[in-house]
Structure formats: C-alpha cells, structure tokens
C-alpha cells in the first residue's frame, strides 16, 4: 500500500513538473514581450520593467528562478493589476469558488446516487425511464445553456432568485443547480448500472436465501458495492466542476477564481494565466491522486500493481 501511494505520488509530481515546465516554455514562445501592447514606452522604462520582472536574464536562469519561486508558492506579480501578487489574487478569489464547488460536489453525489439507486430498484419502470431521460439531458445540455436558461426562467421571469451576484444563501441555488446537473447525470448513470449488476450477483441471492431482510441486504450489500464506481468519478467530477465554474461564475457574476481566469486570458495577463493554470493543475492532480487512493481503500478486490512496476 505504501509503495502504491508513493508510486502514484511520484507520477503526480512528474505530471505536475511537466505542466509547470510546459506553462513556462509556452509562455516564452509567445512572440514579443508583455509590454509591447502598451503605449510607446521609452526604452529606459522598458528596460526597467524587464528588469523588474526578471526578463532580462537568460531563459534557463529565468526557468530555474521560476521553479524555485513556485516551490515557495510565489507566482510573481500580475502584469495587469500591478503591485498585486498573483498568489494573493488567487487566495482572495478562491474561497467563493471553493464554497460553490464543494456545495455542488456534495449535492451532485447525494442526488446522483439517490437517482441512480431509484432507477436501479425500479428497473424498466417509470422512475427508471424518467431518471435516465434526465440523465441524458443533463449530460447533453451544456452547462452554460442550462445556466442561462434557469437564470432567465427563475431569475428574470419568476423572480424567485437574484439574477446576478452572490450574497445570501439563496443566491447559491441557481449556480449550484447549473454546476451540478452534469455530475448528477453521470453519477446517476454510474450508480444505476453498477447497482443493477450487484442486484443480480450471486451473493445477493445467497443473502436472500439466508433470509436476511430487505433493509439489511440493501445497506450491507447492495449500496456498499453499488456505489463503488462513483469513487472513480471523483477526479473527473472535480475537473468538470472546475471547468463548469469558469463559465458559471461568468454568467452569474460571481467573483471567484473562474472569473479571474477568464479575465486574465482576455487581458493576456501572462503571469496570472501561469499562476491560475498551475493552481488548477495542482487541484485536479490532487483530486485524481485522492481518487486512486480512496478507490483502493474502499475496494479490497483491486490488485496493487502500481508498486511493482515502479
């Protein structure tokens, strides 16, 4: 187990290193320098700016300095919001996104599993059909379309919620709904198919033959085994929620990290882009790492092959 975790951790670091390096060299590949678009700047000031950002040194020196800075959590200074550290901007805006994302994850898991379980228990009945139609819709309708739609219906027409902004607890309803629709659909489908498989397994027949009552069979056998595949979805779900939040925050005017990301890309604020990219990268890779470990913990049938290959 320790070897397995160490192995996974090592590969996570390798991937992270590749992402960080790729970010650096891709940004270096952009023709011109970041101050070209500004008004005509006297050469002295230009040189001074280059010095301030360390751009006058050879590329490899910049690269190692950059690696060292990132290791200490320093992503440099934003190129558009001067005097503001990238790390500070990320930390300030992250809390709003984190809250939104966590709520969406919790809601997705609960509703998704419930929906999938109901569909499996009432296989080929009305509930199953309705749940699966909802699931297909949830997967197919892009989150931004759904977000605009519910914003229009419940915000503008019915006036139940604020159209924009993010102050009271009620303001979470629409963004969370838009954000969790797709994960709910995925989880419901995963749960349904694996529950159906479990319900027909021999050990369920054995449990019934032993005379175990329905509740005990459900809780001790069916649910425990049936929701296992959902664990594998933790990683992709995080990715899904992060990508979704970029758009959702834009639509609902929430000042989270997703909105910052869109802004810095439109403004070509390179230090910000690098910072947020690496921040997202760390987040996603951690989520995948946790998925790998949790999956082995909850399912003892998984063979630990990762450790041997090393």
């Amino acid at each position: 187990m320790v070897r397995y975790v160490a192995n996974k951790f090592f590969y996570m670091l390798v991937s992270l290193f590749i992402l960080i390096s790729a970010t650096f060299f891709l940004m270096k590949a952009i023709p011109g320098d970041p101050f070209m678009s500004e008004k005509k700047v006297p050469p002295e000031i230009q040189a001074r700016l280059m010095e301030q950002y360390g751009l006058d040194k050879p590329v490899y020196v910049q690269y190692f300095k950059y690696l060292g800075d990132i290791a200490t959590g320093d992503f440099g200074i934003s190129m558009k919001h001067q005097n503001q550290e990238v790390t500070d901007i990320i930390l300030q805006t992250f809390s709003a996104s984190l809250k939104l994302g966590l709520i969406a994850i919790v809601i997705s898991v609960i509703i998704g599993i419930l929906l999938g379980m109901l569909a499996a228990l009432y296989h080929r009945k009305l509930i199953d059909n309705v749940a699966m139609i909802l699931a297909v819709l949830g997967i197919a309708v892009p989150s931004f379309v759904l977000a605009s739609l519910i914003q229009f219906i419940f915000g503008e027409k019915l006036g139940w919620f604020h159209v924009m902004g993010f102050d009271g607890p009620l303001d979470y309803v629409l963004p969370v709904a838009a954000l969790s629709a797709q994960p709910i659909a995925f989880i419901a489908r995963l749960t349904r198919s694996s529950m159906l498989e479990v319900l027909h397994a021999d050990y369920i027949k054995t449990a019934k033959a032993k005379g175990l009552n329905w509740m005990a069979i459900m809780f001790r056998h069916v649910i425990r085994n049936g929701i296992l595949p959902v664990v594998t979805y933790i990683g992709p779900m995080t990715a899904n929620i992060i990508t979704g939040s970029v758009v959702i925050e834009q639509i609902f005017g929430i000042g989270g990290i997703g909105k910052v990301f869109v802004e810095c890309i439109t403004n070509r604020d390179y230090t910000m882009i690098m910072g947020v990219t690496i921040f997202y990268g760390v987040l996603l890779m951690l989520a995948r790492f946790i998925t790998d470990i949790v999956y082995v913990l909850v399912d003892p049938r998984i063979k630990l092959t990762g450790g041997k290959e090393g």
């Binding site: 590969y11 996570m12 390798v14 991937s15 590749i18 992402l19 790729a22 970010t23 891709l26 940004m27 590949a29 952009i30 297909v136 819709l137 997967i139 197919a140 309708v141 892009p142 931004f144 379309v145 605009s148 739609l149 229009f152 503008e156 159209v163 990715a239 990508t243 970029v246 758009v247 834009q250 639509i251 990301f261 869109v262 890309i265 439109t266 070509r268 882009i273 990219t277 997202y280 990268g281 996603l284 890779m285 995948r288 290959e309």
Partner: protein
C-alpha cells in the same frame, strides 16, 4: 411413506422397453439452415433499428448535418454582412431566426456556426481515432516492455488536465479552426488508445489469430486484417461519443475568447456573444443553444444505442 411406495410401483408397472428407446435429434435435420445467416453487422443494424430513440437521434443528426450544409443557401443573406439599421431584430418573415447586434441574419449564422462546430467536432474525433488506433494498436499488440513504456507515457500525459493544456496552447498560438482542432487532439487521443489497447489485448490470444499466425501472417497483417477489424465496434462507439465532447470543448473555449474568432462563428461563440443581452434578445441565444443541445443529445443517445447494438453483452 407408504403412499409414495404405492405410486412408484404403479408407475414402474407400466414401463416397457419401448419407453427407453432413444429419441434423439435427427442429425440430418440439424444440418439444414433454417434462416439466412446474418453477418455481425447486419445483426447489429437489426438491433439498432429496433431502438427507436437511437434511430430518432440518427434522423435528427442527419437533419442537422443537411441543414448545416444547405441551410445557408436558402436565405438571401450573407453570414458576415452587417446591417446596422436592423440590429437585434426578433424573428420575422425576412430573418427567420432574427438578427444579431450587427444586424447579421441569425438563420444563416446559426447554420454556418453549426457547420463549424461539426467540422471541429468531427475533425478532432477523427484525428483522435487515427492516433489512438495506431498508438493503442502498437501497445496492445506488442505488449511487454513496449506496452509498459508507451502506457506510462500516455498515463503521464493524461494526468495533465487536458483543458489547461488546450487553453495554454490557444493562448500561445492564436485560435483558428486548425489550432483549435490541434489543441483538442493533443491529449484527446489517449482515451481512444486505451480502448484499442484493451480490445487488442483480449483479441490477440484468440484462436483465429493463432491460426493466422501459424499460416505465416506478419505483424502488420495480423494487426490490420485481423485484430483491428474485430475491435471496430468499441472504436466506433468511442468515436461517436467523442464528437459531442469536442463540440462542447470548443464551445467552452469560446467562453474564454479562445474559440473560433470573428467574423467566423461557432455555435459556442454565438451563445457567448448572445450572453450579454440575452434577457432582451432571447432569440440570439435560443437558436444556437437549441441546435448545440440537440446535436450533443443526438450524438450521445445514438452512441449509447450503437454500444447496445454492437455489444449485446452489455446492457
């Protein structure tokens, strides 16, 4: 007990050697083919055509493709001519889908956008297919060390979040249809290669491969004539399901201003453009949104139906 014994004796009393005559199956009868034999493809098609939802989505897809090809011809407008006297007009006889903020006809633009979204989706999926089949085929066929190294490489690549790589690439190389497709495929092929690898690994131990090998077939012949054609079902399903993914990714990139650039438009960038004033001009959002949702829905349902039809073991 006593009752049982009496029944036994009464039954046995009626048994004659005649009862132990071998009835058996007439072996000559078994050889006669009752029905026309169906190929695997015909069988799959029969199963697919019984799936009403899948067939309906196939029809929807065909309609959307036809509209994307021929739709712009039916209107008397150009997709990029501005008409500043008629901006943000609601749908009318003249402009079937209304006009946008520069007075461009939304009907023409919607179908042009559909065309571009479909091109991006299909091209990305086909490139994924090409790289994935070759890479996955080599991994699965040769196995051993080759497989270990190549698999590790794809795993490391896969664990770098693909949206971030795509975004970075498009920040550096200006977005155009070509660079967008390229950025989408840079890690998009990995999934396909894993599907192919798994299939090939299962197939290569089967008897027909051994038979072909013992008759002197080389690696290339085995791989392309025997292994890949047998893995084609899962490959097609993955292909069908990766098209809507690419379309969605392009739409998402449009939100970051990294999608197809003006004056060209994709469905995603049209939705993004419409977002600012869509409470007042809902038609600007509605038509592209409906088309993109329908396209993705149809691809997903059709892909699911295809999977059920090609692999009856699942369900």
């Amino acid at each position: 007990m006593a009752a049982n014994e009496t029944t036994f004796t009464s039954v046995s009393a009626e048994l004659t050697p005649e009862d132990f005559r071998k009835i058996g199956v007439d072996e000559k009868q078994a050889e006669i083919i009752q029905r026309e034999s169906i190929s695997a493809w015909k069988d799959a098609w029969q199963r697919l055509s019984k799936n009403k939802l899948a067939m309906a989505s196939l029809v929807v897809l065909l309609l959307i493709v036809l509209a994307a090809i021929f739709g712009p011809m039916f209107a008397n407008f150009d997709s990029s001519t501005n008409d500043l006297l008629n901006t943000n007009q609601p749908p009318s006889k003249e402009h079937w889908f209304g006009t946008d903020d520069l007075g461009r006809d939304m009907f023409v633009r919607t179908w042009m956008g559909t065309r571009i979204s479909l091109i991006v989706g299909l091209a990305a999926a086909l490139i994924d297919l090409l790289i994935g089949v070759i890479y996955g085929g080599i991994m699965g066929y040769f196995g051993g060390r080759v497989d270990a190294i190549m698999n590790k490489f794809s795993e490391v690549l896969y664990s770098i979040p693909y949206m971030l790589v795509t975004i970075l690439l498009l920040v550096v190389f200006e977005p155009s249809i070509g660079t967008i497709i390229l950025a989408l495929t840079i890690t998009g092929w990995i999934n396909m290669s894993w599907i192919v690898r798994g299939e090939i690994m299962q197939l290569k131990n089967r008897e027909f491969v051994l038979a072909s090998r013992s008759m002197g077939a080389g690696s290339g012949r085995l791989l392309f004539r025997h292994l890949l054609p047998n893995a084609v079902g899962p490959i097609i399903v993955t292909l069908t399901l990766s098209v809507p993914n690419a379309i969605f990714s392009e739409a998402f990139l449009s939100f970051l201003g990294l999608g197809v650039q003006a004056p060209r438009a994709s469905l995603g960038s049209m939705i993004n453009d419409a977002l600012t004033g869509w409470m007042y001009y809902p038609w600007r959002m509605l038509f592209p949104a409906i088309i993109i949702s329908l396209t993705m829905l149809a691809f997903n349902i059709f892909g699911d139906g295809l999977r059920d039809a090609l692999d009856p073991k699942l369900k």
